[in-house]
Symmetry: C2
Subunit: 339 residues, 2 copies
Amino acid sequence: MNIGEIAKRAGASRSTVSYVLSGKRAVSEETRRRILAVIEELDYRPNAAARALKEGRTRTLGLVIPPASQRLTDMQLGFVASVVEAAARADLDVLLSPSGGDHERSFERVVTGRRVDGVILMEIRMEDDRVSRLRQTSLPFVTIGRTADPHDMWWVDVDYTTLISRCVHHLADLGHRHLAFINRSAELVAAGYGPGHRALAGFRQAVTERGLTGVDVCCPDEPSAGETCLEQLRAAHPEVTAVATINEAALPGIQRGLQHAGLAVPRDFSVAGVAARHWAEDFRPPLTAADVPTLDMGEEAVRLLLERIATPEAPPRHVLHAPPISLRASTGPVPPALR
Amino acid sequence: MNIGEIAKRAGASRSTVSYVLSGKRAVSEETRRRILAVIEELDYRPNAAARALKEGRTRTLGLVIPPASQRLTDMQLGFVASVVEAAARADLDVLLSPSGGDHERSFERVVTGRRVDGVILMEIRMEDDRVSRLRQTSLPFVTIGRTADPHDMWWVDVDYTTLISRCVHHLADLGHRHLAFINRSAELVAAGYGPGHRALAGFRQAVTERGLTGVDVCCPDEPSAGETCLEQLRAAHPEVTAVATINEAALPGIQRGLQHAGLAVPRDFSVAGVAARHWAEDFRPPLTAADVPTLDMGEEAVRLLLERIATPEAPPRHVLHAPPISLRASTGPVPPALR
DNA sequence: TTGTAAGCGTTATCAT
DNA sequence: ATGATAACGCTTACAA
């Protein structure tokens, strides 16, 4: 079924059918109705490949995700979901490309096969090969997260430095003197994962500013790891009375570890961090945390990308989020006995 | 950068370049090398739209997911991940289409715009509009899950009836006489969600076979809901000593509810179910459960789809999984006092 | 208000 | 062993 067939049955030319579809030229009400009737009857829809070939654009966005084999965190999933939704609202399709594993071919296809009009990149490293690769091309792209040197780039990100710093100050205000920071996995941090580095910097700086002691540890992004991590932390640093974390996947384990150690939250021990909202709310007691606005961010990434596609020469834009800390129930004054 | 440019620079014709790329015609070693050198130098890759238009296939698979706004369960995420990986291994791209919400347009684009060579559908209802729609077209598709009448369809699914039945028998063998079944959300079940119906049927049948009493409840797919669900269950049916469930998202809440009620697992109360493996392993104590092989299933769905695409007239195929129950630590004999 | 025709970048058929 | 050329189905500039 193609446009010629529609034209024939409606007794019109192919161009007229095309113009009815696009509305880019006036068509008499009469023929318009005839054509629409045929289109309806045959359930015709233009061939996407032909249209893409002619127009030079695909009406498709690429979304590069971490290799799916390693489970996506809830936050990542939130980004994917909101990007897909926002794209759908703009009548755009989303092509998924797992990258990082042994899927270079997939990434290359998307980047260089002109399969998409633009790309959204997630899980950005401080030095990121995919970003470098994309910069060599003329393909518009936006990152969720940013590299070490993000100037003249388009991105949306969360200001982990500020957020973790705020957590530290909040805990310090409550009288805590000995803090710990639970980071994402050691591999991720070693690979130059931005949030890991920036959050750590914020932690160290704030700890220094307030004259506290601070210890930082990495922890695999899994519930069970959170438990052992907390145990080891307690063993090595019994003086610690509060932790800040950006590792939402480890949260359930941290919770279990605390419970196991017979520590009531927030009476005996405080926890604060950065997490997707429902993770914070599912913590017991609900977690005092900066809620990462994944929904807004995915949407913004799409909006930025569309802008960049529309005006390739436009000056780079970016959005840095520093959502306020939502005070919930997991932080409280340091136990008097431990002051 | 197009094939003509390559041809010009290599001093050959476009067809020869094309044949070098496809290997469908012998090309002298000499010209072959020259052409490959130019391709390498310019980092040329054929335009996907042009190729799709000419070949009549897109080298792209469609994956229809539940509207991303409602958070994906871990099992769904597992399917998405394994489908994407399997497709990438076959050098196929994956186009994501959220459906169900107000995203009919996205689904229609994928189905009828010939944007994909085939479609994988998830979250199948007993009566499923999208399946009906797809059957009207000639687009090959495979479902993960199956409709009420799945004959002459291509699908992979989990045999929830059998698995929940096995859970019941296992619990009965341990002496439990009063069981409960915690289903997925009421809306999902009301909408005809297959696993909900089939698991419930299996539960009822097995309970009858063993002469037990069984109560079944629906529970929203969220941790917090699991907690209240368990509380209400305990209040209304204090005689119940074990539950079976397919609601993995509610598991953390069920766990908390048990703890809250002062019930030790498995000493005072047993829990069994069907879940993705790591959910079972993250339960405390680890959950006795049939582990849904999401990884295999996504891969199979892709394999089936490719078969169907290759030979549209082939007889329908399907795979029904009934993985064994992995005995972990959440089930035990009924407390003697309650026998 | 409508139709004709060129051309997007491939692949594959038919010549040579 | 290689080249010219006709499609694939669409959009749009140009004619009428």
